[in-house]
């Protein structure tokens, strides 16, 4: 069987499953997230380092073993952003922008120093840089901000048409557009699209931290692609189809660290001179090269200087955000702003899955350390009391899973009733919109002269924002203030009823 065909089949199905993951309903998302995400490198790595779980650790170990045995096949088989680039590349070939590829010089200083800086900044507690360049996060944000809204609009439009035939279905809520986050993502997609349209898998070998890290492992992988120098007729066909531009036909060498394992060269070579075999069989040529040494020195130097820079100047910026009056509210299960910003990879899966669309991307609200990480978008929406989906699907454990009972007492913020704005206090007229929707008994009425004044008891509040969402005044008279460290709320216990709950009355009609 042609390995290229297998590769296309696998990557197309993975990409399709990702479409379902980001556009499907609650059940689809819960199922697919546990099936797909342990085999995505950054989620598996971040999960293992910050909130270890067996599934993701096994995933990470399998990915590392796979790379050590087969090279960077992850990039061609499993990475959905790789697949997206392959779509761009195929498009470019179809319309003739770039029909063939050619050998490119390695940009090792760039990719290894970027990797170094990302590792150091992550070690210092900020995933911002990683999140900007991580392929899984990029594809997640791409799906969440472009594909899902498009899909939902199409779906809602179809539903409107179906009404004409008396078929009624529930429409889907659409996330609000958060402009700064959208612009960052548009910029990234444009950069990656341009790179792939013009230069194939250039992103994978310059900006992608996963590519760089797996490349280091692939240098010593068991199976390697090789050209038999003696038999090669120099037809250059393999270099023409090499999207990574890593085949140096002049010297009949293949740069293992940049090869994305697409098997194109293997299947096109007319004489089967390009081979994929155990590295032991291959004639061990130079294990030492001056080039590699300079790379090593360069990356160590870059990492060192980056480390100094972070330590002196940027450390303050990376400190956890503390109870500033307007600090953002992190989703339930994220323990604290510190825990959340330290482990969220900004893939926005929670943003796309959230049924009430209350989770939206932030921009710099969490500070520079938590760029684009999701937050609760009050009062535009509210967190559904019964729902605990985001914790169930979060791949990195930034939002830890909560049982419904735990979620219902997890206090992510407290409410503040602004009596100088509230219509009941200002106009002395009944309103009660907030009390009506409060799921926890935080809000109750005090009856003064047959007018019902809302009153707050924050012991029970979980910060779900239903009251703020319902409040009819503009600006809102009741707002949620963030808890930098999430707390436990008390559960309201109804006073013991002296009579049985279901009383039966057999009086005569009162009229």
């Amino acid at each position: 069987m042609n390995p290229v065909k297998i590769r296309i089949a696998v990557s197309v199905s993975i990409f399709t499953l990702f479409l379902f993951l980001f556009c499907g309903g609650e059940k689809t998302v819960s199922f697919l997230s546990s099936a797909l995400l342990p085999l995505q490198f950054v989620p598996a790595l971040v999960r293992t380092l910050t909130n270890p779980s067996a599934l993701f650790t096994i995933g990470l170990i399998s990915l590392i073993l796979m790379t050590l045995i087969f090279g960077r096949v992850y990039c061609s088989f499993l990475c959905p952003l790789g697949m997206l680039q392959d779509i761009f590349i195929a498009l470019s070939r179809r319309i003739g922008w770039r029909k063939t590829h050619s050998f490119q010089k390695p940009r090792n200083l760039m990719r290894y120093s970027l990797l170094g800086i990302i590792i150091i900044s992550a070690a210092l507690g900020s995933l911002s840089l990683l999140n900007l360049f991580d392929p899984f996060s990029i594809i997640g944000r791409f799906m969440t901000q472009f594909i899902q809204p498009l899909f939902s609009r199409l779906y809602n439009f179809t539903i409107r048409l179906m009404k004409l035939f008396d078929i009624y279905l529930f429409s889907r809520d659409i996330s609000p557009l958060i402009l700064p986050a959208l612009l960052v993502n548009i910029a990234l997609v444009i950069v990656i699209a341009t790179m792939s349209l013009r230069h194939g898998r250039l992103y994978c070998n310059t900006l992608c931290p996963v590519g760089a890290l797996l490349g280091l492992m692939a240098r010593v992988s068991f199976f390697k692609f090789a050209i038999d120098k003696n038999r090669c007729i120099g037809c250059l066909q393999c270099a023409d189809v090499c999207k990574a531009g890593c085949i140096d036909t002049l010297n009949a060498k293949i740069d293992q660290s940049r090869c994305v394992g697409c098997f194109n060269c293997l299947s096109i070579c007319p004489q089967s001179i390009v081979s994929y075999q155990s590295s032991v069989k291959q004639t061990a040529n130079a294990s030492w090269s001056p080039e590699r040494r300079s790379i090593l020195i360069g990356s160590v130097a870059a990492a060192g200087s980056a480390f100094l820079m972070f330590n002196s100047g940027m450390r303050g910026l990376l400190q956890p955000v503390h109870a500033a009056p307007a600090s953002p509210i992190a989703p339930p299960g994220s323990v604290s702003l510190d825990h959340f910003t330290r482990s969220c990879s900004s893939c926005h899966l929670c943003v796309s899955a959230c049924p009430t669309k209350v989770i939206t991307p932030s921009f710099v609200e969490y500070g520079i350390r938590g760029l684009l990480q999701p937050k609760m978008n009050y009062p535009d929406s509210f967190c559904e009391y019964e729902c605990n989906l985001c914790g169930k699907i979060c791949p990195t454990g930034a939002i830890l899973p909560l049982s419904p009972e735990e979620k219902q007492i997890t206090q992510i913020g407290e409410v503040d009733l602004l009596k100088d704005k509230c219509v009941v206090y200002v106009k002395n007229e009944n309103c009660g919109a907030c009390v009506e929707v409060c799921p926890t008994r935080t809000l109750t009425f005090i009856n003064k002269g047959n007018i019902l004044y809302p009153e707050v008891d924050n012991r029970y509040c979980i910060g779900c924002g239903a009251c703020s969402h319902a409040c009819p005044t503009a600006p809102k008279s009741i707002i949620v203030r963030s808890n930098p460290v999430h707390k436990k709320a008390e559960k309201y216990v109804a006073p013991k009823l002296s009579t049985p709950q279901e009383k039966t009355i057999h009086d005569e009609f009162p009229f």
Partner: protein
């Protein structure tokens, strides 16, 4: 003098006896349902109240006493049934209309010849996820489907702005087109405690056919609830007072264990939305005079809250 007084006495005795006989007979015959079976109600009573039965049986009895569903639904008409599905709560809590009642009402509409029966409510927090929960948890979605009703979810597209002539506060609002286009509009509220409006019954239930209910909260609930009835009165109001939520309304507690529910096992039927609200208020144990919107609607001549002025038929099963 004596002559006249004699005749007077005789007359008095005669009249008294015959009146007593008639009244007694009416009571006996009424109990056995003999009168109505013989003579279908030519004059529809203002209000029918039935108690001590299951929701479906009580409705069947009540609508028969009202002269049959054919009085309200003509052959080929489309019907909108508007239960209270405002909150994601189980039926035991009494925050939503009894699903069995909704099912029986839909069946009855089809039996009367309705071409289509729609079921609609704009839930209190109208996100599609929450609406789905409300429809599902209340048991109304399944019950309505079983009877062939068409469940219509909330969306933002189907609303049309209307003016309300004579309104004091709610001069204009947006109403769902389904209601405007329907041949028959049947209101099927549940009687329950309401934190800010005291009680939620038939008039309050109409907040679920407008788009922006927060305008009511902001500008005065009682006046707005009463104002809306100047625009649209349902063709029939069926009040579910089987399981009555006595406190913590309108949503009630999440846990059925905490719900303070009284089994009143009562059903009210009337064309007059004010009368039916007044009667339900009595059943709850309150005085209609104390419920702001009932009083305002009575003053605005939407209906009559003086129950002693109305022709009421009661029946105990």
């Amino acid at each position: 003098m004596t002559q006249t007084s004699k005749t007077d006495r005789r007359e008095f005795l005669k009249k008294g006896l015959s009146l007593g006989l008639a009244a007694g007979g009416a009571i006996i015959l009424g109990k056995t349902d003999f009168l109505h079976a013989r003579e279908p109600a030519r004059t529809i009573p203002d209000l029918v109240a039935v108690k001590n039965g299951d929701p479906d049986a009580m409705f069947k009895k009540a609508i028969a006493l009202m002269g049959g569903m054919e009085q309200f639904v003509k052959k080929g008409q489309t019907v909108v049934v508007k239960p209270n599905i405002g909150f994601p709560r189980r039926p035991e809590i009494g925050a939503t209309t009894n699903p069995l009642l909704v099912k029986t009402v839909i069946e009855s509409c089809y039996q009367a010849g309705a071409s289509k029966v729609y079921v609609f409510d704009n839930v209190v927090t109208p996100t599609s996820g929450n609406a789905r929960n409300c429809y599902k948890l209340s048991g109304i979605e399944d019950a309505a489907r079983a009877a062939g009703g068409i469940i219509v979810p909330v969306d933002d597209f189907g609303y049309q702005t209307v003016n309300i002539p004579g309104a004091k506060t709610l001069k204009t609002t947006e109403v769902h087109r389904l209601i405007l286009d329907a041949g028959v509009f049947i209101n099927v509220p549940v009687l329950k405690h309401h934190s800010s409006a005291h009680l939620s019954i038939a008039m309050k239930n109409l907040m679920g056919i407008v788009r922006n209910r927060m305008k009511y909260h902001l500008t005065g609930l009682d006046q707005c609830i009463a104002d809306f009835c100047l625009y649209k009165k349902p063709d029939l109001n069926i009040v579910d007072a089987y399981r009555v939520l006595m406190s913590d309304g309108p949503d009630g507690p999440r846990d059925p264990k905490d719900a303070q529910v009284t089994l009143k096992k009562t059903l009210l039927l009337s064309k007059d939305i004010v009368a039916v609200d007044a009667a339900a208020t009595r059943i709850f144990g309150k005085n209609p005079e104390d419920i702001g919107y009932i009083k305002i609607a009575h003053q605005q001549k939407t209906g009559n809250m003086n129950l002693n002025k109305l022709k009421i038929v009661t029946y105990t099963m």
